[in-house]
């Protein structure tokens, strides 16, 4: 790449991963320092903040896709959290805010995708696989049982009198060997 800020154009902000953990740990070290100061009263915003976090917990950050919107430090996530705060202050319901996000970014932003024609496979696919696996198991066990029964049957009938004598002689011999060994 041509310069140092290469990941930015896709990531729109901070890179995901180790750097972020480092930053988080560093920031955590400052928490105790920050607590020494007077708390800023935020009673009015507390309710808004709580709802914002609850909503954004349900949403995927488009930049760091395995993070929720509430936990992401990506710049777009900050923008979207600000947007959610604004919508809450405008008196929008949670459902309306969810609709706002889905209409822009699609069902993909929701961690709990809705049940509809395009998501049937997503919801029922695992159960389909399970049913298939159980069916395969049943078929296998049945054929195995049949095979064992068949082979038991056939071995009984196919042993000729000559073979039977040989087998009995062998058994007797091994019994004798055993009793000799014990002595």
């Amino acid at each position: 790449m041509t310069n140092g800020n290469a990941p930015k154009e896709v990531a729109l902000g901070h890179p995901c991963g180790i750097m972020k953990i480092l930053i988080a740990v560093t920031l955590a070290l400052f928490v105790t320092l920050a607590q020494g100061k007077d708390a800023v009263p935020m009673a009015a915003d507390e309710a808004v903040e709580k709802r914002m976090v609850a909503i954004s917990d349900e949403l995927r950050c488009l930049v760091c896709q395995n993070e929720s919107l509430s936990g992401s430090h990506a710049e777009l996530a900050q923008d979207l959290r600000r947007e959610i705060r604004t919508l809450i202050k405008q008196g929008k319901t949670d459902a309306e805010i969810m609709e706002f996000m889905v209409s822009r970014y699609g069902d993909f932003v929701r961690y709990r995708p809705p049940l509809k024609a395009t998501t049937y496979l997503l919801w029922f696919g695992p159960f389909l696989l399970l049913a298939g696996a159980i069916a395969a198991l049943v078929v296998y066990l049945r054929s195995r049982g049949r095979r064992i029964a068949a082979s038991a049957e056939s071995s009984e009938t196919t042993l000729s009198p000559e073979e039977r004598r040989q087998a009995e002689a062998l058994l007797k011999q091994s019994e004798m060997n055993e009793s000799e060994n014990k002595r």
């Binding site: 930015k8 154009e9 896709v10 990531a11 896709q65 777009l76 979207l80 970014y105 699609g106 993909f108």
Partner: protein, 194 residues
């Protein structure tokens, strides 16, 4: 014989799934906006911020909306293609300058007064276009990225193809490539211009 067919079939299935799965890009989120009217906005133009641009101005035309920023490295990669496209065709390309100042991680946006932001964005965007060529019919300035949110922008560059009625017909995520242009965008433009 049958005993070998089963593992071979399972392996073929696995290869099939991987062949499809590994080609999918999880970054490419299908946009729900395709097939919907392009969200309306009114933003200052880069050349003359007192004048506004709105998608309504483009009614009756097939056009491209290209989201870019001077801090975006991929935009640099796709830019020559847009410049060539502007020369070859009459397809209007409208630029949407996305968070020109705030999006740049090297600038502390909090330290910039709101009046200065517009000027700084203008300066940076103009310098970038002067150096690399300006394929845009005009560029609109989305300083805070609010219009970007309405368009579902989550990475720059992104490009939208909008038809005569103002409906989004195609969205390209990431830098526009020659293949995307030849195989998807231009054939669609031809069809829409009929």
């Amino acid at each position: 014989m049958k005993r070998f067919l089963i593992p071979v079939a399972l392996f073929a299935m696995l290869v099939g799934f991987l062949a499809v799965g590994l080609r999918l890009d999880p970054r490419e989120v299908p946009s729900p906006l395709v097939g919907k009217p392009a969200p309306q906005f009114e933003l200052p133009r880069l050349a003359s911020p007192d004048q506004k641009f709105a998608p309504l101005d483009m009614k009756g035309k097939v056009w491209l909306l290209n989201v870019w920023a001077s801090w975006c490295v991929s935009c640099r990669a796709e830019h020559p293609l847009l410049v060539a496209l502007a020369k070859q065709t009459t397809l209007p390309i409208i630029g949407l300058s996305y968070k020109e100042v705030r999006g740049d991680g090297e600038i502390d946006a909090g330290k910039i007064a709101s009046g200065d932001e517009l000027q700084l964005a203008q300066k940076r965007a103009n310098a970038w276009l002067a150096a690399r060529g300006d394929p845009y019919t005009l560029t609109a300035l989305d300083l805070d990225g609010r219009v970007g949110i309405d368009y579902g922008v989550y990475g720059v560059p992104e490009t939208y193809l909008i038809d005569k009625a103002g409906v989004i017909r195609y969205k390209h995520i990431g830098p526009v490539t020659r293949e995307a242009l030849d195989e998807k965008i231009l054939p669609l433009v031809k069809e829409l211009e009929k």
